[in-house]
Amino acid sequence: MNVVSARSLDLTFRTGDGPVHALKDIELDIAPGEFVSFIGPSGCGKTTFLRCVAGLEAPTGGTLTVNGMTPDEARRARAYGYVFQAAGLYPWRTIGGNIRLPLEIMGFPEAEKKRRVAETLALVDLDGFEKKFPWQLSGGMQQRASIARALAFDADLLLMDEPFGALDEIVRDRLNEELLALWARTGKTMLFVTHSIPEAVYLSTKIVVMSPRPGRISDVIDSPLPKERPLDIRDSAEFIAIAHRVREGLRAGMEAA
């Protein structure tokens, strides 16, 4: 069964100055264990699509299922973890406290909370930072903590909206590597929004190129790259070819709009 399945999905926002057609006729299937990147110019509806999957936004047309349920049911079943663009850690909670937050809300027993916090901290390589406050960490470390927070309750689906958008290229490179490793280890399904072509190509098994006004899917590219990806795969011809196709897809979408 597909983890995410969208059929002629449509979403129009009513705003003060007329309706905004944010998503139009989205058809997409995502199988378990895939790493899917969404790329497209600003305003093309990437975030909106992710929010629909998360049940934070209600589509105005078409159908969308998550693990076979409606997105809202999936949200209440805590089917996914969501990572926002900015780390958005609560500044009044320590790193450990932030990771504990979803566990508290979902009512995990005390011992279980402890175990999971320690485990996820280790997973994102932040052991020893449990008692620190967010602002005592660098931006990259904060973003890792926010990923840990989304991992803590061990949902099979991870939704990430430009998680590394605010970081500099070098830190970003390292986090990309780590994310790939994590994905390989856990086998989760990933939906990943990005603005960066190299990032999308480097990470994904499938790249969804979107174009704006109204937000549509203009291309879906299945990556032939192997699962093992050292950083300098980015200088390989295959990589460059996919990147080229993504860029062409973006350009075409822009011109059509």
């Binding site: 998360a54 805590r78 809300i105 390589d125 967010p134 660098s138």
Partner: protein, 332 residues
């Protein structure tokens, strides 16, 4: 540690670094503050001369000195500065020690302050500590009630659109009502149901302090951004969970900012509440009694006592704020 957080703010700041920073901050304000105070005190002394000139010259005249103009009725039309210039000796000599000066000299006020706080038993009716305590207890009671009410109202406003739309404008209008006008009425109404003493003052004090708290708390409870709220939605959190885990902690810095304004307003409220019933107890009563008998020195010392009390209350709240917010990691 492969990724030492060296780029994080303050990552390398040790204890000594913090202390050094604090020391620099202290010397960076203490000296200018002292300089400004010195300048103000100097100006104050200077101002005493013309302000008190009429009386100085009158005293000199009664003492048999030659003054110009010679009679009080002629002098009445001469300004203080001109009078001081025409009678420099008495104006200077007698400006700083009068019993009922128009403007008491700083040392007179300081001596009165000292004498009526440290110099007396705190149980004495002349002790400013005694009166300060009376006012303080009403202030604290009113502040507690006002703050509680303000927070409740803010919670209501944040969670209910009707309350937001209907209550907020009237809360603003309520602040345009001159409190001194309704204070006596509050007192009389409370009298009629047999309530007197601390409660009426506390009610007025609460009336003045609830507003800043409402405004600050509404802002604070609304300070979490859409993303922080959405995060909790992704966890399927309930309204109560959202309130306790997100809105409330996020509002604390705003709350403290309003508490500092609110406590000062509470103090004013308590003093205003002490005025209508006149000479009973408290700093307001001292102010009024001083005023009633033209005891300017006593007025000024009560005035400064009130300001010092306000400063202390604000300092205490700042202290609590610093400890709490630092423990919560909200203050660096």
């Amino acid at each position: 540690m492969t990724d030492a957080p060296l780029s994080a703010p303050q990552a390398g700041v040790g204890r000594s670094g913090r202390v050094a920073l604090r020391l620099r901050a202290v010397s960076g304000t203490v000296i200018p503050v002292l300089a400004v105070i010195a300048a103000l005190v100097g100006l104050w002394y200077l101002a005493c001369i013309p302000m008190n000139a009429q009386q100085s010259v009158l005293l000199a005249e009664r003492g048999g000195a030659e003054v110009s103009p010679a009679t009080a009725s002629e002098r009445r039309d001469v300004g203080g500065i001109a009078l001081s210039l025409r009678n420099p000796d008495p104006a200077l000599a007698l400006a700083f020690g009068q019993d009922r000066p128009v403007l008491p000299a700083p040392h007179q006020v300081a001596a009165e302050l000292w004498g009526s706080t440290v110099g007396l038993r705190v149980t004495s009716k002349r002790s400013l500590v005694f009166h300060g305590w009376i006012t303080l207890s009403a202030t604290l009671a009113g502040f507690a009630v006002g703050t509680g009410l303000g927070i409740l109202l803010a919670v209501g406003i944040v969670h209910s659109r009707v309350m937001d739309m209907s209550v907020m404008p009237w809360a603003i209008v309520s602040q345009t009502i001159p409190i001194i006008a309704i204070a006596p009425m509050i007192i009389v109404v409370l009298y009629s149901i047999g309530v007197q003493g601390l409660v009426p003052k506390a009610v007025i004090s609460a009336y003045l302090s609830f507003f800043p708290v409402v405004v600050g708390m509404v802002k604070g409870l609304r300070s979490p951004d859409a993303m922080q709220l959405d995060l909790l939605r992704t966890y399927g959190a309930s309204g109560a969970q959202t309130f306790w885990r997100l809105r409330l902690p996020a509002s604390l810095p705003y709350l403290f900012a309003s508490l500092k304004i609110g406590v000062a307003a509470s103090l004013i409220g308590a003093i205003v509440g002490e005025l209508p019933t006149g000479a009973v107890r408290g700093l307001g009563a001292r102010l009024l009694a001083g005023s009633y008998y033209g005891q300017t020195v006593q007025i000024w010392s009560a005035l400064f006592a009130a300001a010092i009390l306000a400063a202390l209350l604000v300092a205490i709240i700042s202290g609590v704020e610093r400890v709490l917010l630092r423990r919560m990691g909200l203050m660096r």
